[in-house]
Amino acid sequence: MKNKRFNLLLIAVVTLVAVWSLWPTWRDYTYSKQLNSFGSTQDSLKYVMSHREEIEDARKKSLKLGLDLRGGMHLVMEVDQVDLFEQKAWNKDAKFSTIMQSVRAKAAQSDVRVIDLLVGEFRNENIPLSRYFYDIRNSDQEIVKKLEKESEDALNRAKEIIRNRIDQYGVAEPVITTQGSRKIIIELPGVSDENRVRNLLKGTAKLEFRLLREPEVMVRTLDRINTYLAQNSLPVPAKAPLPPDSASAPAPQPGSVAAPPASKPSSANPLYDLVGIFQNGTAYTSEHSRELVLSLLRRADIQALMPLDTELLLAAKPDVGKNGEKLYPIYLVKKAPELTGGVITEAKATFGSQGVQPEVLMSMNSDGTSKWARITGANIGKRIAIVLDGAVYSAPVVQSKIPNGNSVINGIESLEEAKDLEIVLKAGALPAPVRITEERSVGPSLGADYIRAGIQSLAWAFLAVSVFMLFYYKKAGIAADIALVLNILIVLSVLAGFNASLSLPGIAGIVLTIGMAVDANVLIYERIREELAEGKSVISAVTQGYDRAFSSILDSHVTTLSAAFLLYTYGIGPIQGFAVTLMIGTSASLFTAIVVTREIFHLLLAKNLMSEKSFG
């Protein structure tokens, strides 16, 4: 008797908790319905203002919909650990770069930790790690330990930086987690401007101040590359040539484009088909040839032609020519930066002095300020390029010594871009480049379709299964159906209570649960029928039925649960959603299908409402 009362109490508590946990979801639904019913935006705004707390509270505690249902972006980013280890190494030579190349090739193929690949590769070559990493006296194990720590730090730092950037960008409820040794998973619900997010996340924000070499040196360098290309008759794919223009121009005014000896056949001057030079020594390339020039500049044989410790970089943003063509200036800068972005303490996007050009103001810490003062003092009249992620944003001429550490990045196209740059600079530089390796985005209209499809499947599956149970087991079917309703309630409420989100695969899991949850009842009822057929009384048949069916119910639930658990452990993203609902549903059915239906039968038996016919 006592036990029975306990079970009833348990059922009541579970039901209440489930309803209580789903209450905010219901409130959220009614609020948004009410808001949609208002005729004007003013009315709805007024309503929101007066009910703000309730609405926000309901929204916060309500059942979240997954990315696929509400639309949004799912990104997997990978921290380039090969690059990270390369940064950590010293004494780098040709051997080292071949090793790293093969590590990189292997890393692209598998999910094995990069550090393990690295160690394996060094072991194959029989080279101690200490030749390139840390101290020569360190053993391999010590170095591996240090590098492991570095890569772990890098992953966590990258995650924090990405979180900072996203927080400042303003996405509601982003989820950012790490997976394995080099992956960061980012979920951004309701993001509409995917391109902007992508750029924001990818930017490594490696900000450097680098000295520009003299224009003559650059022209000589370009000449050398041109001659080299012509001599080796290396194929530079012919692309749209530069717009021809008047041959003389006093200054790099936009539009005053000086065509190089462009009339010559393309084979004679392969480089100058892509690159033009102003009279004052400023070089540029057109938008069409930009990719081509960039790939050219990345080639090792071309880089060898540049003066020691320098490289050619392109501007991040083009100047607009007279005819509207876009021209990207080319700069020859020193490889070693004078100062790096780590010294930046504050960044602010604003409009420039004329009020139209967006720019970013930066201030530096004391260390940076003193260095900056020395650098600017020593290079008055020279140009310093502000380089962000390998692209030159601006290359101002140093007019005077800057004692206070304030500098400006201009050459930015829109205020939006300036704002993003501000975010990136403030959040700091990523420790190593990150790449997007997986991206899934769902538009809101498809999400709405998914919701409709999900609700339809749920409704039809419930209807089909519950009608079948009624039809096949008569009165006992009612108990099973009540248990089924409670089961679905529990699944939804656990999701809402633990702040997990419901996705389309999750709904599929619930639909599957509907079919599986009644299995326990089928096993019990079939057993009861058998007992009744042996001529037992209803009361003892029910008791025996529950007792004897229990072992096979338990076995089947344990196997389903373990499969779902493994699916959760090894699966990712959408599959985990499915596994979670299946796990909750299966566990809940142990309670609903066994305890709840049994109590219902006890009540009915006590009131003499059950007979042999009640089990169909």
């Binding site: 696929d68 990978e78 899934r440 209209s445 339809q456 079939e526």
Partner: protein, 311 residues
């Protein structure tokens, strides 16, 4: 209501027929797997997929020619049954570029019929190979877990036969995917993550019916002579036949609903689970229990089972 009043099939006597049927089924699948192979989705091969939806009906050929003219190479297929199309192409780091390329081409050339890009997925090759590995790991781990659990609850012969039956079920479904892959436009049957989920669901559920039969055998076999085993096996299977079929039936019912209503993203999964449970029900009666019987007959010793109750 009752579907099976009292059956008296001689399952054990006719088990060789079932074995033959299963072997043919498996062989057909294997041959198709070797000859035709599987249709891998982007989850497993890497690549980009764009789902484009149009406002009005449109011919696949028209879109294809527009995309070809724009220089976007890839395959275009009808997606689901509404005016949606799935365009898949090799992996490009920047899906934004792909999106604008496709969108611009369609906007320029098919003006009268507005389109919307409703979904973009891009999976890099390294992720794709990771996914394959974790899928294989998950499957092996779940089979091991089931082997251990059933071995612990019953006996190792029972557990092994159960796992063999699961293998049978999964391989048959895999074979079906190979044979039927690409045959139906509404159901391309590509191998992706959700199919792995389906396999694990099948593995977890296939043993359910098997356990029901085992449970009954355990209950009745206690203290019986090996010469009575054939009768006990047969009676047990007949007695549990009704519940075996109804438990599977309810699940099949809900999976069928999924297949019909849940849309193209879930359809392959629903198909896999549906056929897997159908075959799993068959195999628990015609494969798992008969295998145990054969094994017991070969060893000619009385079986000791754990946890059996007094009848």
């Amino acid at each position: 209501m009752r579907i099976f009043q009292k059956t008296n099939f001689n399952f054990i006597h006719n088990r060789k027929i079932a074995y033959g049927f299963s072997i043919i089924l498996l062989l057909a699948g294997m041959v198709s797997l070797v000859v035709k192979g599987l249709n891998y989705g982007i989850d497993f091969r890497g690549g980009s997929e764009v789902v484009i939806r149009f406002d009005k009906n449109i011919d696949v050929g028209e879109i294809r020619s527009v995309l070809d003219a724009a220089g976007v190479s890839g395959t275009l297929k009808q997606y689901g049954m509404d005016r949606s199309f799935l365009f898949s192409t090799v992996f490009q780091g920047d899906t934004g570029q792909l999106k604008s390329l496709v969108s611009n081409a369609l906007n320029d050339r098919i003006r009268s019929n507005h389109h919307e890009i409703v979904r973009i997925d891009a999976v890099g090759p390294s992720i794709a190979s990771d996914l394959k590995w974790s899928a294989v790991k998950a499957l092996i781990a779940s089979l091991l877990a089931i082997l251990l659990y059933v071995g612990f609850r019953f006996e190792i012969k029972f557990a092994t036969a159960g796992v063999v039956a699961i293998f049978h079920d999964i391989l048959t479904v895999l074979g079906l995917f190979s044979i039927l892959g690409g045959l139906f436009p509404f159901m391309p049957l590509e191998m992706d993550q959700s199919i792995i989920a389906a396999f694990l669901t099948i593995a977890g559920y296939s043993i359910t019916d098997t356990v029901v039969v085992y449970d009954r055998i355990r209950e009745r076999i206690r203290g019986q002579k090996p010469s009575d085993y054939e009768r006990i096996f047969n009676e047990s299977m007949n007695q549990t036949l009704s519940r075996t079929i109804i438990t599977s039936g309810t699940v099949l019912l809900s999976v069928f609903v999924l297949f019909i209503f849940a849309g193209p993203a879930i359809r392959g999964f629903a198909f896999a689970v549906f056929s897997g449970i159908l075959i799993g029900t068959y195999s628990s009666i015609f494969v798992a229990a008969p295998l145990v019987y054969d094994w017991l007959k070969m060893t000619k010793s009385a079986v000791r089972l754990r946890g059996s109750k007094q009848p």
